[in-house]
């Protein structure tokens, strides 16, 4: 897992309302953080394929952002767009809860 910013772009969709901009705050490579990144990637590929962008922020490298972005819990996932702003804390182990948390219907197969 890299701490670098990961971008998965779907340029055509970026401006539309349906495009998801996600930020995942982690602290180093703890088991919880590694699991969260894995779970998030899997979730997005399943439910948001082609219309999401994940930015991973390692607070150990950017400690200032903990205050600027009001982060306490690790990992924390923040959805900036589409609105409303949503925060999910935890290793995102339950895809079902993610769907509920993001107010999404399961993607059609």
């Amino acid at each position: 897992m890299s701490a670098a910013v990961k971008k998965k772009k779907a340029a055509a969709n970026q401006a539309s309302d349906d495009f998801w901009n996600l930020r995942l705050y982690v602290a180093g490579h703890s088991a919880k953080c590694v699991a969260a990144v894995r779970n998030l990637n899997a979730f997005c590929e399943t439910h948001l394929a082609g219309r999401y962008r994940i930015e991973i922020i390692d607070l150990l490298e950017n400690p200032k952002l903990a205050r600027d972005d009001q982060i306490l819990a690790i990992p924390t996932l923040v959805r900036k767009v589409p609105e409303p702003l949503r925060k999910i804390v935890g290793d995102l182990s339950s895809a079902e809860r993610m769907l509920v948390g993001f107010d999404l219907r399961p993607a059609s197969p």
Binding site: A27, S30, A35, L72, I74, K87, G90, G101
Partner: protein, 494 residues
């Protein structure tokens, strides 16, 4: 009675002075340095102020920068709230002596999904500490986290980790917490922070509010065990240590004039002892305040400051009344030697009152204190409280070698040789002033009921309030009187 729990342990605990008046005395030097202290109490009892003052004084007086992590108030609110106490947080922040971080908790926005920890909080706090090189940290009120997250097991484990982490960081920390029902804190934080626990309390008894502080626990240190009244006013937080120094104050052989030559003459020609307490009691309109004003003038004329607690009349009223008997107090007020502290004791609690007086004395550093009258204090609280309070006040003044003149209004038509508040045994010199009607004239009389450690007159003198001040006149001995001048040496000097 405040008594230390014992001598400090062999490995002396280092302490971080709070700089808060009185608190360092009862904690024998401050809070445990490099360790967390828990400050608990109900809402509105002053936890945040105490914590903030700890940081501000630490930054200003100890050169220790501090981080204030606020879970409830924003930086702007905090800054505005303490501005009235004379703390300029903006300036301290600009000078990098203080860092304010407002933690926003909005549980409605947060969904929990799986395992998490509070590393973000640790990183955030660690970064804040490192940014300004903080030596002090306040977490106010960290229990708010329990409202922000639902997984209590994780929170508890993380708080335990946090307090250990703070210790490892070596910062002196204050963690505030709300008082719980039957427990010190709502979330049982006292389990985690066990080095030092302070409890603040704000009680209202008989419509009079009193704030109190108690050290519940202070591991490895001697500390006061009482409940101490404390004040929050324009100078910040101050705790009143009721260290009843009782009888170990030094006594002085120096004599001071009462300001009335005839009265000095009645006291062996030399007046009262410095640092002694003098009671002037009598019925209404007998000239007690006038006598007190003589003391004040004499003190100022010696170049010694005098603090006058006026509980019955305003400053201007007293000044006017005194000028009518030839005592002009205005020049002394102008010179800053005489200061009046007005106030109605009934408007605040006893403890509060004592604390206010204590503070006024500390500030002004007078050599003479006048309380006119003390009988109004009895009206403020229960009799027992009033006596206890005066005892402490007198003890305090004696310790500081400040002479005290107390006036007392005795009730009823007949002057009794006992005062309302029963402090007669505490005073060293006691003047009685009484009225009597003779024909169409009302006459005032004065006598020395007692004066410890000196020869004094046993005679009753006529007491005249003239336009040149008080004059005492010999009364022709009544038939059968055996008293003469001079008199017995009574009482024991301690």
């Amino acid at each position: 009675m405040a008594k230390p729990n014992g001598k400090g342990s062999t490995a002396r605990l280092t302490k971080a002075p709070t700089g808060i008046q009185g608190l360092d005395e009862i904690t024998v030097g401050g809070l445990p340095k490099g360790r967390p202290t828990l400050v608990c109490g109900a809402a509105g009892c002053g936890k945040t102020l105490l914590a903030m003052e700890f940081l501000v004084r630490g930054a200003l007086e100890q050169g220790e920068p501090g981080v204030f992590m606020a879970f409830e108030e924003t930086a702007e609110e905090l800054t505005a709230n303490v501005r009235s106490l004379g703390f300029d947080l903006d300036k301290l922040v600009a000078q990098k002596k203080l860092l304010l971080d407002h933690v926003v908790l909005d549980s409605a926005q947060i969904d929990e999904n799986g395992e998490f920890d509070l590393s973000g909080l640790f990183i955030r706090l660690g970064y804040a500490i490192d940014t300004i090189g903080a030596k002090r940290v306040v977490l106010d009120t960290i229990e708010a986290l329990f409202g922000g997250f639902s997984n209590q097991a994780i929170l508890r484990a993380e708080l335990r980790r946090l307090f250990r982490w703070l210790k490892d960081k070596g910062v002196t920390a204050i963690i505030t917490a709300e008082r719980g029902d039957g427990t010190l804190t709502r979330q049982g934080l006292e389990e985690y922070v066990s080095d030092c626990v302070l409890l603040l309390d704000h009680r209202v008894i008989d419509q009079v509010s009193t704030r109190r502080l108690r050290i519940v626990k202070y591991r490895g240190s001697a500390h006061g065990t009482n409940e101490y009244p404390f004040l929050i006013d324009e100078d910040g937080f101050s705790v009143l240590p009721i260290t009843s120094t009782a009888l170990n104050h030094v006594t002085s052989d120096e004599r001071l004039s009462t300001g009335v030559p005839h009265l000095d003459a009645m006291l062996g020609g030399k007046g009262v002892y410095r640092g002694s307490s003098i009671l002037v009691s009598g019925t209404a309109g007998t000239g007690k305040s006038s006598l007190a004003a003589h003391f004040a003038r004499a003190s100022c004329a010696r170049g010694e400051r005098c603090l006058y607690f006026a509980f019955e009349e305003s400053e201007s009223q007293i000044v006017r009344n005194m000028s009518s008997v030839g005592i002009d107090l205005r020049p002394w007020i102008k010179k800053g030697l005489l200061r009046f502290v007005p106030g109605r004791p009934t408007s605040t609690g006893m403890e509060m009152h004592l604390a206010l007086m204590h503070r006024a004395v500390r500030h002004f550093q007078p050599r003479l204190v006048i309380v006119d009258p003390i009988s109004n204090l009895a009206a403020a609280g229960a009799l027992r409280d009033a006596t206890a309070m005066l005892t402490r006040m007198i003890d305090f003044l004696k310790t500081e070698q400040i002479t005290a003149v107390l006036t007392s209004l005795t009730g009823g038509g007949e002057a009794k040789e006992e005062t309302d508040v029963g402090i007669s045994s505490l005073v060293d010199t006691w003047f009685m002033v009484r009225n009597s009607e003779r024909g169409v004239e009302r006459t005032r009389w004065l006598y020395v009921l007692k004066s410890r450690g000196m020869a004094h007159s046993n005679q009753i003198r006529e007491f005249l309030l003239t336009s040149r001040g008080i004059e005492l006149r010999d009364v022709p001995p009544q038939p059968g009187s055996i008293s003469g001048r001079g008199g017995a040496r009574t009482g024991a000097r301690n």
